[in-house]
Symmetry: C2
């Protein structure tokens, strides 16, 4: 089983996810996107249809390739049924 497959499965379990997050020191934005989609219970193909794009584009984003625009990030979240929130903290 590949790492991304494992994550995909694991993230559907809240306890596993919490443990994973504790261990993961460098938070990946790709995982953030994957998490939203999994919480929404959508396949990449489902989400692609909602976003009027191809599922390969979804895969590209969740694989950490690319550098999505604000619009793309917001579209992704909304299609998953979520509202994005941004905040900032002093850099340590």
């Amino acid at each position: 089983m590949s790492l991304s497959k494992l994550k995909q499965k694991a993230f559907t379990n809240e306890e596993v996810k919490v443990e994973y997050d504790k261990l993961e020191n460098e938070f990946s934005f790709a995982n953030f996107l994957l998490e939203m989609r999994n919480k929404a219970g959508l396949t990449q193909a489902d989400l692609a249809k909602l976003m009027n794009t191809s599922f390969t584009s979804i895969s590209r984003l969740e694989s950490g390739k690319g550098n999505p625009s604000l619009k793309t990030i917001n579209n992704f979240a909304h299609a998953c049924g979520f509202q994005l929130n941004f905040n900032y903290s002093r850099l340590s």
Copy 2:
């Protein structure tokens, strides 16, 4: 005095900002960026130098033109001395 000038001044005052946020129903990402730069006490020119770009690009972002990439947003925050945090809530 233009609206953006007013905001720029007002946001340096925490109380004013809080009141503004209460009234503002639709949160603008441009204001979010402006707020970070003002908190950092930087001019557009200062920030531009830190980001290795021109101050007109900063203006473009803060004026709500454009659709910044994740990289640009992170560069902006870091140059202002902040760490960005993303989270999401169920869409109502």
